[in-house]
């Protein structure tokens, strides 16, 4: 049986992964927009993004837009697979 992925199994990180999974493949989501979706503070969101980045589940891109620093994130292939396994695990529990 597949183990529960502790990296995804945390409320904020679960929302981050779900928000990114809902986008077209390769689509980047801005930090400020993700913050509103996830309803987390800057510091809290930043820490969880770093954790998912270290796990290789998301990729972080930093650049400038209109002379202002911009941070964007996207789901990696590894992250997409891990998330699908996590969802399958949850569905497995519900279906018994």
């Amino acid at each position: 049986m597949v183990e529960l992925d502790p990296c995804i199994h945390q409320p904020v990180r679960l929302k981050i992964m779900a928000a990114l999974k809902a986008l077209p493949s390769g689509e980047l989501l801005e930090f400020v927009r993700l913050k509103k979706i996830v309803e987390a503070s800057d510091g809290n969101l930043g820490a969880h993004i770093q954790m998912l980045d270290q796990a290789g589940y998301i990729a972080v891109e930093k650049d400038f837009s209109d002379n202002r620093p911009r941070t964007r994130v996207k789901l990696t292939q590894k992250g997409r697979r891990a998330f699908q396994e996590y969802v399958s695990y949850l569905r497995g529990i519900i279906e018994g």
């Binding site: 529960l4 502790p6 199994h9 409320p11 679960l14 929302k15 981050i16 779900a18 928000a19 990114l20 999974k21 809902a22 986008l23 077209p24 493949s25 390769g26 689509e27 989501l29 927009r33 509103k36 979706i37 996830v38 969802v87 949850l90 569905r91 529990i93 519900i94 018994g96």
Partner: protein
């Protein structure tokens, strides 16, 4: 670590909600430049339609004005769409071909529709078109709101109310009203959608 059925169901609900919010936010963000573009087209079209007769031109020149602006709007729409889907098209050339086919097909369908409408309505087309097309746009926004979110519904109500109120109660200022209030409201909705 193991989860109960209730915990698993709660997590699936969280996933669904976050996914919906994310998809809706992307939809709003992507829609924003289209609203702004067509808001400017409306302002130029309706203001120009009001000004042409005052400047001594035949009201029939309004058709050329709207045709030109519509072409500018369509080209702008395609450019915005290409920019928004650049990453997707780079990875999938077939997706770009399908998108172009959709644009060309859409343009042909709309052209047929407008031509058929013109033939059916006859000389009253110009008078009715200025109120019919905004209401048709409002209808599409209303239908789109069912899938894309409440901000489309607000846009639908705003366009309907602004168009009907001017057509019924301010007929002599209708074109200027549509330029200022109709076009302006589209731009405002575009800005609102970008703030997600």
């Amino acid at each position: 670590m193991s989860l109960s059925r209730d915990e698993a169901a709660a997590n699936l609900r969280t996933i669904e909600q976050a996914g919906q919010r994310s998809a809706q936010a992307l939809g709003y963000a992507r829609s924003s430049p289209y609203f702004s573009l067509w808001g400017v087209i409306w302002i130029l079209g309706y203001a120009g339609s009001d000004l042409l007769p005052r400047l001594g031109y035949s009201p029939r020149n309004r058709n050329w004005l709207w045709l030109t602006l519509s072409l500018v709007g369509i080209v702008g729409t395609i450019l915005i769409s290409n920019r928004q889907h650049r990453a997707q098209y780079a990875a999938d050339a077939d997706a770009k071909r399908r998108a172009w086919l959709r644009w060309v097909g859409g343009a042909i369908v709309v052209s047929f529709f407008v031509t058929a409408l013109r033939l059916a309505i006859g000389p009253r087309f110009e008078q009715l078109a200025s109120v019919f097309f905004p209401l048709l746009v409002a209808l599409f926004y209303g239908l789109a709101s069912l899938k894309l979110g409440v901000r489309y519904f607000v846009a639908s109500i705003a366009v309907t109310a602004l168009t009907l109120s001017a057509y019924l109660y301010l007929p002599e200022y209708f074109l200027l009203w549509m330029a200022a209030a109709g076009g302006g409201s589209l731009i405002l909705v575009g800005l609102w959608m970008s703030k997600v």
